[in-house]
């Protein structure tokens, strides 16, 4: 019986640990590949890398998928990930803000 109780305790402890790990590995941000599956999404935060800039549009990619972002402002191609805030209409993301991701802090950019 001791062994049986041990198994149940082990399962519960494991579940709790899993929840803790889960809590540390979620982000409210979407990736471009998640976004392309959606028809429309307003005021989303999309995280990815700027891969190519062309005028006031650029391509945002997560390595799997890339999306076209329209942004009226200066865009610089960073080597790190950026967070783009904007509205998705199924084809392009109309950006309202582009934030540079800098470890844990975010700077306007």
């Amino acid at each position: 019986m001791v062994e049986k109780k041990f198994s149940i305790v082990a399962l519960i402890v494991f579940t709790v640990l899993a929840i803790i790990v889960l809590y540390h590995n979620i982000s409210p941000y979407l990736t471009p590949s998640e976004l392309v599956g959606r028809e429309k999404a307003e005021n989303v935060q999309v995280v990815g890398k700027i891969v190519s800039v062309n005028g006031n549009t650029f391509q945002l990619s997560d390595g799997k998928c890339s999306i076209t972002v329209i942004y009226n402002g200066s865009i610089q191609q960073y080597n790190t990930e950026v967070v783009v805030v904007g509205n998705w209409d199924g084809k392009v993301l109309q950006a309202t803000e582009v934030l540079q991701k800098c470890h844990t802090e975010y700077k306007g950019g």
Partner: protein, 502 residues
């Protein structure tokens, strides 16, 4: 009225009548109605296939998923490219496996109960088809050509993946019914279900690896997760002595859960069809299917679950995948979550498998060797895969350079082939630019296999003006162990049918 719709109405009326007759113990008549229902549903499926083959674009579903220039095989596989066709396929498989099952051995009261449960469930599916997902909706005019099949689905794998998956789903429904009715052949059915579930997942992974350009076979996508859940509980089923019926029930509930996740699009993924409210109709069967589990929860003594460690370990694996999938509804779950939680459990399972491998029969040994190989392959791909972005032009020096760019054209698409000098020889990744199906650009990967790793090239970006190509190069270590391991698992499971235990 459209003849296909009429066939489906007949199928629904007869399958529901069969259900009532089986409940009223008029078994012989019920059986006849079951066969009528099976035949009419199958006829409807054949008619739909015929519409695709003959380019009948006045049928909306054909228009939306096919076009005249497509090869014959893809016209057939386009039948199961959408919700309508797959649901029809599911209903047909349900009725066919039920008809086969009641003719397997002696017909008795328990078989009648199985048939009653299966016809009830199929009636629900068919009613759903008629109300929300009718594949026979006709347009008021005939468009000159169809919109075309989604380019990503134009692969050999996608001819087999949906039928295999839905056959597995039908078999899991049958396993549920047989277990509940306490009828014969439970073990054989469980094995068959397991084989088709495994095949479905493996074909899906193979397709993802060769089609989706991200150098992996498993992305912890919600739909992949949802398909893994019933597989885990069904695998646990074989490793438990008492109380296994709970795992049979749970497997079917999780199959329905997977259908809900896949179709409703509550979690966006490569599979999402775009959700509609009617997709939530799966919630009802999920709740119903949970009743035997809940009503017998008291019989599920803790001691029966814990007399071995394996059910607990499999449950842990299912718990972490379930938690991650549900969290995915609200937030993005990072891949690391699965690596931190799932991988140790997988390692523990593999360790136990390796300890016991000599004490079991030959087919089971093969199957378990497959598990070990799968673990080795999956772990190395997940942890050791290397990716590099390479930008090259014709003037590039070094390991990589662009030798040539060629354009070909056929009725449906332009094909851009890049000839790239790599250390392994000339690689020829391609870009397909479709003229149909919404002008999609699909990148086709070039895989140069070596014994211990794959060299995997895909075109990320192409700039015509400067002749610059951006390539993504993945070094995928030990991916072959994943495929060989999976093949061994299925092969070992098949071999077990040759023994006496069948």
């Amino acid at each position: 009225m459209e003849p296909g719709y009429l066939l489906l109405v007949t199928s629904l009326a007869t399958s529901f009548s069969a259900f009532l007759l089986f409940v009223a113990k008029k078994w012989e008549l019920g059986e006849i109605f079951l066969y009528i229902s099976t035949s009419t549903a199958f006829a409807a499926l054949l008619l739909l296939i015929n519409y695709f083959v003959t380019d009948t674009f006045s049928v909306w579903y054909v228009y939306a998923n096919s076009n005249a220039e497509m090869p014959l095989l893809y016209k057939i596989s386009a039948v199961w490219a959408g919700k309508e066709g797959t649901l029809l396929l599911w209903a047909v498989f349900n009725l066919q496996v039920t008809s086969l099952y009641i003719n397997w051995g002696r017909k008795d009261e328990r078989k009648a109960r199985v048939a009653a449960l299966m016809t009830l469930f199929t009636s629900y599916l068919t009613a759903n088809i008629l109300l929300f997902f009718n594949p026979f909706v006709t347009l008021p005019y005939t468009p000159p050509n169809g919109a075309g099949l989604n380019p990503l689905l134009r692969t050999i794998e996608m001819i087999f993946h949906p039928p295999v998956v839905f056959l597995a789903y039908s078999l899991s429904a049958l396993l549920f019914s047989v277990t509940l009715a306490n009828s014969d052949g439970e073990r054989t059915l469980a094995r068959l279900t397991w084989i088709f579930l495994t095949l479905g997942i493996v074909i899906g992974g193979w397709w993802a690896y060769r089609t989706l350009n991200w150098g992996g076979f498993w992305g912890w996508d919600p739909v992949e997760n949802a398909s893994l859940l019933p597989w885990l509980t069904l695998t646990a089923y074989f490793h438990i002595t008492r109380g296994k019926e709970h795992f049979a029930y749970l497997t079917f509930s999780l199959v329905l859960f997977a259908t809900l996740i896949t179709r409703s699009g509550i979690i966006s993924s490569v599979h999402s069809f775009g959700g509609e409210v009617s997709d939530y109709s799966y919630i009802l069967p999920i709740l119903v299917s949970l009743t035997p589990t809940i009503s017998k929860i008291r019989q599920l003594s803790i001691s029966s679950l814990c007399n071995q460690n394996l059910p607990i370990i499999f449950s842990s694996a299912a718990v972490v995948v379930f938690l991650g999938t549900m969290a995915g509804v609200f937030v993005t779950v990072e891949r690391e979550y699965y690596l931190i939680t799932f991988l140790p459990v997988f390692a523990l399972i593999t360790f136990l498998v390796a300890l016991k491998i000599r004490k079991i029969s030959m087919p089971t040994t093969l199957l378990h060797l497959g598990v070990i190989l799968l673990f080795v392959g999956a772990t190395s791909v997940w942890l050791l895969e290397d990716v590099e972005t390479i930008t090259i032009t014709q003037n590039s020096t070094g390991d990589f350079s662009l030798l040539d760019l060629r354009i070909g054209e056929d009725a449906e698409k332009y094909t851009v082939t890049a000839f790239i000098k790599t250390p392994e020889g000339v690689a020829t990744p391609k870009l397909y630019v479709y003229k149909v199906a919404g002008n999609k650009v699909v990148s086709s990967v070039e895989i140069i296999p070596e014994l211990f790793w794959d060299n995997y090239y895909s075109i990320k970006d192409l700039d015509w003006k400067s002749g610059t190509i951006t390539l993504e190069y993945y070094c995928v270590p030990l991916i072959n162990a994943v495929w060989i391991g999976s093949a061994l698992m299925v092969f070992g499971a098949l071999l077990r049918f040759s023994g006496k235990s069948f």
